[in-house]
Symmetry: C2
Subunit: 404 residues, 2 copies
């Protein structure tokens, strides 16, 4: 008997028939003798519908009230999933984030999980019930409903898997697993069977879209082994776990392209000590995650600063920077679209050389100009023109022999 946490995303519970299919899969897992905790998202589209309705009433809805509103999406699916299990004779009970004991910080719409007290869950598992938990939501110590932001349901699943000491956490989604590249762009991309947390982290943060960084970080921190797999077939997916020695045999595990960043250029920043720090501090306070950064050395008492941020944060970052510039008494900020970030990732880079050379040569061959570069121990990323991104991804994928 194993204890399994299964998470089903919005498309997997998108309508009544799909919810029934989820129930059948959960029932089958339980019938094999496992204890099952299920985490579900809102039906696909519901969260966006609710946001649209909110914005038709108030262009900038209050974050606390937005959380109050958005939390209903998952509350619907947990109840329907429980009913679907009852309909096929499986004992089941649904819990909101609060009832599941998920306590968060109070930063609405992007709250962090502080602790999980799975008292109710453990009790129901002991009774033999399937426990269905609303993803994406929690409660502050003061009793306010919060949501966890993008990818919040994955985080709920991973965090619950840690809290109930699950043997495995299965993330059911609309893709088969993690690929060496986006198969829609790179036709010979292959599914990766096993990947380390660090590689997955780089791929997640670099835009492979399968999962958000913080869920993978959480899994790494608490040693939660998880599998990304499809809810529409029975194929094994990609297992994400601690690095093992054999993983280093592969120099590059995958190629990721992120088209959801914009470039922010701060020009004529007064070149005083701490100017740049104040810019980044303001961005941090505004909750913006800054990615690739270049600072040009100051000349005539001013400096230029270029960095990328997620497109959704463009307005927020421009405002935060403008406020700092006003205080500093100079400089201007502009945002540019039309870039893409391409990255190669692999723990093998630590022990193999020549990756950068191959990457840059290949990009030159397809005529892609490199605007920014950033590197880590296991990844090299470049910002290039958006319209060169797909061709570049195919060429790089081939250059590192990632195809089938």
């Amino acid at each position: 008997m194993a204890r399994i946490v299964q998470k089903y995303g919005g498309t997997s519970v998108g309508d009544v028939e799909r919810i029934k299919r989820v129930a059948a899969r959960v029932a089958a897992t339980r019938a094999e003798g496992n204890e099952v905790v299920v985490v579900v998202s809102a039906r696909s589209g519901v969260t966006n519908e609710l946001i649209a309705r909110a914005k038709s009433i108030n262009a900038q809805p209050n974050d606390r009230e937005l959380d109050m509103l958005l939390a209903i999406g998952e509350q619907e699916t947990i109840a329907l999933t429980a009913m679907a299990l009852h309909a096929i004779g499986v004992p089941a009970i649904s819990y909101t984030g609060q009832q599941a004991g998920i306590v968060t910080e109070s930063m609405h719409t992007r709250a962090r999980i502080v602790s999980i007290a799975p008292v109710n869950i453990e009790e129901e598992l002991r009774k033999g019930s399937v426990v269905i938990v609303a993803g994406f939501q929690g409660i502050t110590a003061g009793g306010q409903i919060t949501t966890l932001g993008r990818g919040g349901s994955d985080l709920t699943a991973i965090a619950l898997a840690a809290a109930v000491k699950a043997d495995v956490c299965q993330i059911y989604t609309d893709v088969d697993g993690v690929y060496t590249a986006d198969p829609r762009v790179v036709p010979d991309a292959r599914k990766i069977h096993e990947i380390s947390y660090d590689e997955m982290l780089e791929l997640a943060s670099l835009g492979s879209k399968v999962m958000q960084t913080r869920s993978v970080e959480f899994a790494k921190k608490f040693g939660v082994v998880f599998e990304v797999r499809s809810s529409f077939n029975d194929k094994p997916g990609t297992i994400v776990k601690e690095e093992v020695a054999s993983m280093e045999d592969v120099v590059v595990r995958g190629v990721a392209v992120d088209k959801n960043q914009v470039k922010v250029v701060v020009s004529q920043l007064p070149d005083k000590p701490g100017s740049a720090a104040r810019v980044f501090k303001a961005l941090g306070s505004a909750g913006v995650i800054v990615d690739m950064i270049i600072q040009n050395v100051g000349r005539n008492g001013v400096a230029n600063l270029t960095f990328t941020v997620p497109r959704d944060d463009a307005h927020r970052s421009e405002k935060a920077v403008a406020d700092v510039l006003a205080e500093l008494g100079g400089g201007k900020v502009q945002t540019f679209d039309g870039i893409a970030k391409l990255s190669v990732v692999g723990v093998g880079m630590r022990t193999h050389s020549g990756v950068a050379a191959t990457l840059f040569t290949t990009l030159a061959e397809v005529g892609a100009n490199i605007e920014l570069i950033s590197t880590s121990e296991i990844n090299i990323s470049v910002a290039i023109e958006l319209d060169k991104a797909d061709a570049a991804a195919r060429a790089v994928h081939a250059a590192f022999k990632l195809g089938a």
Copy 2:
């Protein structure tokens, strides 16, 4: 400065524009210097949609899960209403039933309020905020989400008005107030300006549809003066309060017709001591409220029992009775549609005679057969054929000179 509880029903918050109109009315009330607590229902249609979705997954959804599901309807409107108030510059905060401190018993889908601890509400009122509370829902001492059943939002408003010692409770709905009869059936029906709790109770229980009995009972018990009025105009509505002497000048306050009952006939019930008691005990345990009752004296060791129940409870009551009959070893139960209950109500009946004579004569004149009769100090009700109900209502309304 007064403290006012305003309750807006499903049609009043039916769409985005209507929610904005509710916000404008709340803002105007606050601008007059009042403290305002707002109770809202789910948007009209939402609860039924959710029930239909549940039933497409499970024909008999579990009550706990149904409450989990239905509670989202009000959670949506409280958040949207708060956003609408923010949009016009009014500080406001929304609370679920739980956050408002509404504790109920654990009978799901029809829970009773046990207590209200309006700590959060008082704190926010002190800060000058409008507090918006989800109607229809509460939480058990054990943390389970419950709903209060039909008319639950009215009950929330009345109970909150008592808990926060409001000066008045305004029930905004899609009708102007309480009428001497249903104006769609009786064209010269008049709006009643003031009515006693007892008269309102009889009208509510007799099907005038404006409010559920238990909300009025709650108001009477705690002395909550409330006004039923329209959210679509500014006309004064009907004030419901403790009886005053002048109310007795009117013999009949109004005529009500209830078309939502069915007749249950238990025939050949073994005529042992306690047989009827067991039938009604079983109905009570099943949560069915039995209305008009006739028992025919036993003959040949069997008796007949006829009573009416709300149509929605027909299946439940038939099942409950059948179980008892099986234990008693005899008798059969049948349910009949096609009846209506017509009632005349007025505190003046206590001191005026001849009401029954006028009623029965008038019914005879329109050819309506009386199948069952029940009376109280301030009401006489008869079950007649459904297809005679409207003509009978008009004739009775005229006979008691209730028209304009």
